[in-house]
């Protein structure tokens, strides 16, 4: 069982929901990322989604676009991001880390080299926004052989036939994008999400994480009620943007955001 599968199974056994924060690696500075990852864990993260910055983040709204620009200003490369995970693993061998990003940096590094380095560093899962399963024939086996979970997206527009096929290609969990839009937009409709996630649950045994639009304890609890975990991104990245100057202040602000979400999720525990 992979680290991701283990964590999600334990949570399920306890009747709890996963809290999955996203930050962009290298933002506000590459030196800060590993420390921030540990803070996220202290604040209650079960899994970390670590964004790999890209020059053209087509699926992201302004908040994460700017985070990519800050990270790239400091030259944050995919190799460096993998190095950050390796550093993180020196003190934490429990919290799964999923690299989330776009395909081209992986393609430039070379898929084999990337998969080797990621597995060696202790990366657990790969989520590539612009790689649907149809185009993953060459890449997916490289990940599978190294026990890296391949996490694919499902969207409100995904028809049933595709939901089944995508789940088939996925391991660890599937990521349900809660609305039609880019990250950071405030469009979430909890009733619609509930209906669709229930429908997805009928078609796959994989845990379903829901991301996009979760910004506070209330939305976290509402979505947590109907899913296996919540992914929280833009609101954290925005907090990073507003507290770039002072690392300690930043850690406090992130904790202040995540704590209530953790508590709200745990209050759902059956």
């Amino acid at each position: 069982m992979s680290r991701i599968q283990g964590v999600l199974k334990d949570l399920k056994d306890q009747g709890r929901k996963a809290l999955i924060p996203y930050i962009t690696a290298g933002d506000p500075h590459p030196d800060a990322t590993v420390g921030l990852m540990h803070s996220l864990v202290e604040a209650g993260a079960d899994i970390i989604e670590l964004g790999v910055p890209f020059s053209d983040p087509m699926a992201d709204g302004p908040v994460i676009q700017l985070a990519c620009e800050r990270a790239l200003k400091h030259g944050t490369s995919l190799r460096q991001v993998i190095g950050m995970v390796k550093e993180f693993r020196k003190e934490d061998d429990k919290t799964p880390v999923v690299l989330m990003g776009y395909l081209n940096p992986m393609e430039a590094m070379g898929y084999e080299a990337f998969a080797d380095a990621a597995a060696d560093a202790g990366v657990d899962g790969i989520l590539t926004v612009d790689l649907p399963p149809e185009e993953a024939d060459d890449v997916a086996p490289l990940f599978a052989r190294r026990k890296l979970d391949a996490i694919f997206l499902l969207a409100p527009t995904t028809i049933d036939e595709r939901i089944r096929a995508i789940a088939e290609h996925s391991s660890g969990y599937v990521y349900y994008v809660s609305f039609k839009g880019v990250t950071g937009a405030a469009k979430i409709n909890v009733d619609e999400v509930a209906a669709k996630v229930a429908h997805i649950h009928e078609m796959t045994a994989l845990p379903v994480g829901v991301g996009f639009g979760i910004r506070d304890a209330e939305t976290a609890a509402a979505v947590g009620r109907v899913s296996d975990g919540v992914i929280v991104g833009s609101v954290l990245v925005d907090t990073i943007a507003r507290n770039q100057a002072d690392t300690e202040e930043l850690k406090r602000a992130l904790t202040d955001l995540l704590h209530p979400m953790r508590e709200a999720l745990d209050s759902l525990a059956s």
Partner: protein
Amino acid sequence: MSVKLTEEMLSALPDARGHFGAYGGRFVSETLMDSLMTLEKEYLQMKKDPEFQAKFDKDLADYVGRPSPLYFAERLTRETGGAQIWLKREDLNHTGAHKVNNTIGQALLASFLGKKRIIAETGAGQHGVATATVCARLGLECHVFMGAEDVQRQSLNVYRMKLLGAQVHAVESGTRTLKDAMNDAMRDWVSHVDDTFYIIGTVAGPHPYPLLVRDFQSVIGRETRRQALDKTGKLPDALVACVGGGSNAIGMFYPFLGDETVEMYGVEAGGLGIETGQHAAPLCAGRPGVLHGNRTYLMEDENGQIAGTHSVSAGLDYPGVGPEHAWLKDIGRANYVSVTDDEALDGFRMLTRVEGIMPALETAHAVAYGVKKAAEMDKDQMLVINISGRGDKDIHTIAQLDGIEI
């Protein structure tokens, strides 16, 4: 070195997943997949539908003014002293460039699909104008995304779009040029996917766009082939077209791909010179990667971040290129070359003074290379330059370079 491409090989491309060899495909976030698959299905049906094709042909004739002439540039040929130079006059199309062939086709598709809101990206503004034009004609809501830098250097076209009733969104992110406009158009599409049709302006983007844009633009090459046979009794020896995303070039090349004797030259923007890195020539100096929904040649750094580009012409200032060109390069069927900003400006001046035809700065790249190539060829040979657009939109840029205030 030319490769024999049979009818059978050509009709098998792109394959069912939109691949041209190793290139093309559909690399987008999941939210868009359903729309792209629907579009593909509908388009493949309409492609066979005589009614759709008749409508398209009628619009091209009565609204665009096709066929565009194939003109023998007698004086330019004499001055050059080599092959006969012929010009395919896409600059005479309504709205002044080849772009309208494609927007007519895609707008027809949009109306068949019942979409009332249209979005587009634009660099030089020609595709934006061509999109705004068809939207005005069909009464569709139109949003055009344009890099903030291009909004400045192509201000005439920005105003034209506004007059036509389009909303122009200046894109401030990234390098503030065409690639960033395309990013924001994709973001808008994801956010309004139910009611919005994205009219992509070139043969890039996710499948089926490279296919359908190529089909709509192929009227250029089909006409040229027929006109060349009518006027000279033979096929051209060489075709020359500028390559930004590659739509005017593929439109010219595609109907000739099976004609072994016809050489093809796609001309990329060499900017300040390939050796300076300040250019927009991914086929000449880039490597394969994935951007904007397809795998193709890209300009990127060693970490896979997309590189900034430079060209005097906004319409060529793009770090990628259509996947079919990537494939044609790899199999050696077409040649890809570049000319610098300065050479292009010379080409602009030469065509203006010698033939009284003022080309767009994009087109001027093809002119510059075409003249150079013709000079190396025999007098009984025939070379066709695709005059993809007219230069009115660039007068400000030219004047500025000449230090003149207008």
